[in-house]
């Protein structure tokens, strides 16, 4: 069953066609990886799906529903969560506060009730608190609960950001370069977590990744992107053997246009 469907998606920034007619579908329960050289438009696709960018043309459907016109703040509530390539945590807040923000879309009480922090608010806070503790256990973040993000090392921040996304209880998780900036061990942990997210939590994953070992280990299907266009889709092995993909990675910035 197709969970997320992108159809002829395009966005132009001035003269740059960052994404130029991209179509793909992601099935429920798979790990779908997008690869491609820097500037290929991978992060831009994520920004389009999470509605931060307005597409020039094309459609995005989630669970069969067209979400192309929705505002960005409605996306988390639908069950789409994401991480950012350069980590977008709330730096002057604690790990707990960051994770609790992952529960924002699930809140049921409003600001007026919060002024008084009555029994309903208290019960809700406790329920969320219990929920995020599951994620804290899952990602081994117990030591960092009360630490401010600004005081954490890069590797831990990366995990916290993943945790915050999991706290939203997503149906689909968009991971933008989950291993970038991590050392070998941290990358291995990340690889296990991503498989567990699929196998244990049953969450569908779309990821942008450069580390081919990680890609091969966890991906079910891979899509290769270059200059905003899809150049190949298939299993990890198929895509890496594709001549167009090899050219994109080795050819550098040669000006010959790809075969349409």
């Amino acid at each position: 069953m197709t969970l997320l469907e992108v159809e002829n998606l395009a966005v132009h920034f001035g003269g740059i066609k960052a994404v130029d007619g991209v179509s793909f579908g992601v099935d429920k329960g798979e790990i779908f990886t997008i690869i491609g050289p820097n500037g290929a438009g991978k992060s831009t696709i994520f920004n389009l799906v999470s509605r931060i960018y307005q597409p020039t043309s094309g459609r995005i459907r989630f669970e069969g529903k067209d979400i192309t016109g929705l505002p960005a703040h409605r996306i988390a509530g639908l069950g789409i969560a994401r991480t950012f390539q350069n980590i977008e945590l709330f730096d002057m807040a604690t790990v707990l506060d960051n994770m609790m923000l992952g529960r924002h879309a699930h809140r049921r009480t409003g600001p007026f009730a919060h002024l008084f922090f009555g029994p309903a608010t208290r019960a809700e806070e406790l329920a969320h608190r219990r929920k995020i503790e599951e994620v804290i256990d899952f990602l081994d973040l117990q030591h960092y609960r009360d630490q401010m993000i600004a005081n954490l090392p890069y590797g831990v921040r990366k995990v916290v950001e993943l945790g915050r996304a999991l706290c939203t209880e997503p149906k689909i998780l968009l991971l933008d370069e989950p291993s970038s900036g991590l050392n070998v061990e941290e990358t291995e942990d990340m690889s296990f977590w991503i498989s567990d997210i699929k196998n244990i939590l049953g969450i569908t994953v779309i990821m942008v990744e450069h580390d081919m070992n990680l890609v091969n280990e966890v991906s079910d299907r891979v899509l290769a992107l270059n200059y905003g266009r899809v150049i190949a889709t298939g299993t990890p092995a198929e895509v890496q053997a594709h001549p167009e993909v090899i050219r994109a990675y080795l050819g550098g910035d040669d000006t010959e246009t790809e075969a349409a």
Binding site: S43, A93, P111, E125, L126, A150, R164
Partner: protein
């Protein structure tokens, strides 16, 4: 799950998350000491009514401390210090002379507005130079309604609500602007409000001002300095409580999210427009409440009392007190009440060239704000936390503990 330090999740939703019992017992001794000191040094002869009142106060404070403790005896520590502070505050009218008492009353009033501004600026990251207008709105609402014969039960809620509404209006530019532009936009709005108050003299008395009488509630009239002190104190405590409640719920977290990263906030489902407007509304409501009490303290209000200078004073309060913490409001408020008096005290001993400089006070305020932003961005409360940490960690204190780590460039963030 939670092996170390903590035993249940409820801890994290508490008003005072951390605690211990050690100081609770040493605190008992302190309570007793205060009691004895009061009996000896109180300038007025304490009657049996006083003693009864104090006894009730102590009983309540103790009860609160005991109630806050859980089975492991945790949580009592912070609550104890609040209790002690509460007792000191409650006993002040018995021991202080009227001048000092009224100064502290003003500190409470500024601190009420300060909690609001810290919530907006420190928590949500939105600046406002329009808070004088919210105080004015609260002050005039209370004054005009009182003139119609309503008591505090009507005038205060009305002052809060009307100011909150005005806050929504003034907050609208915040949906499109940030930083210095927002500062100018809010300033422009505040200027309009000031003009309206001056021009609409049929309603407000214009520049001639408006006179108030003693406030009352259900027939009880606040007709002495002491009574006004208690009124301001209770209202400050309630405001602080509301602020802390916001801080520990999803609304406060949404504010912090907006402050730290609007992109990520949206990705978590935070509706930026709604929450920025909410922050302005709550902040303005608190300023409005402060304005109403302010009006009753002064007995006389006019548009000159609510100029940009007041807004800047409040900004000084927030920055000095410490944007990271609501409690800082009281430090900041004390600062803006005391500093002008210190300046006027030293004025005469300074050489006339300096002492008679026009705008000396504003200049010093400006200087202080700049020094604080550069040297102590966490404000007085931050300084206090550092001192506390230093002593707690004493032999192990590392110099870099509070240094902020440099992060990547902001322009890179979305990629």
């Amino acid at each position: 799950m939670r092996f170390l330090f903590k035993t249940d999740y409820a801890q994290d939703t508490r008003l005072f998350p951390f605690g211990g019992t050690k100081r609770f017992w040493s605190g008992l001794a302190l309570y007793a000491a205060i009691l004895v000191a009061l009996a000896h040094y109180a300038p007025v002869a304490l009657t049996s009514t006083h003693w009864l009142g104090l006894a009730i106060v102590y009983a309540v404070a103790f009860g609160a401390v005991l109630l806050r403790q859980n089975a492991d005896g945790e949580g009592g520590h912070a609550a104890f210090w609040y209790g002690l502070l509460g007792v000191a505050a409650l006993s002040a009218p018995f021991v202080l002379d009227l001048y000092f008492l009224s100064q502290i009353t003003f500190v409470y009033v500024y601190a009420i507005a300060g909690v609001g501004l810290i919530l907006l600026l420190g928590m949500c990251g939105q600046i406002s130079l329009g808070h004088a207008a919210f105080m004015a709105c609260g002050a005039y609402t209370a004054a005009l309604l009182q003139a119609q014969g309503f008591d505090l039960l009507v005038t205060l809620p009305a002052a809060i609500l009307l100011s909150a509404l005005l806050g929504v209006v003034i907050g609208l530019p915040a949906l499109r602007m940030t930083g210095i532009y927002l500062a100018f936009a809010t300033y422009a709005f505040a200027f309009i409000v000031e003009e309206v108050l001056a021009r609409w003299d049929g309603l407000t008395g214009g520049n001639m001002g408006f006179v108030l009488s003693d406030p009352s509630i259900l027939g009880y009239t606040f007709d002495s300095e002491q009574k006004m002190y208690y009124l301001a104190m209770v209202l400050f405590a309630l405001t602080l409580l509301a602020g802390l409640n916001i801080r520990r719920s999803s609304t406060g977290r949404a504010f912090m999210a907006i402050r730290d990263s609007e992109t990520a906030a949206e990705a978590m489902g935070v509706n930026l427009a709604v929450y920025k407007t909410t922050a302005f509304a709550i902040s303005a409501g608190m300023a409005g409440l402060a304005g109403a009490v302010y009006a009753h303290l002064l007995f006389f209000i006019s548009p000159e009392g609510f100029t940009i200078l007041l807004s800047i004073n409040l900004l000084v309060l927030a920055v000095i007190g410490g944007l990271a913490s609501m409690h800082g409001a009281i430090f900041g408020a004390a600062f803006i009440v005391v500093l002008p008096q210190l300046i006027s005290l030293t004025k005469d001993s300074l050489p006339p060239v300096v002492g008679q400089l026009p705008g000396l006070e504003s200049g010093i305020f400006g200087l202080v704000i700049i020094l604080f932003v550069i040297l102590e961005p966490m404000g007085l409360h931050g300084r206090w936390m550092k001192i506390k940490t230093y002593f707690q960690l004493f032999p192990l204190y590392k110099r870099g503990t509070f240094r902020r780590q440099k992060s990547y460039m902001v322009s890179e963030k979305n990629r």
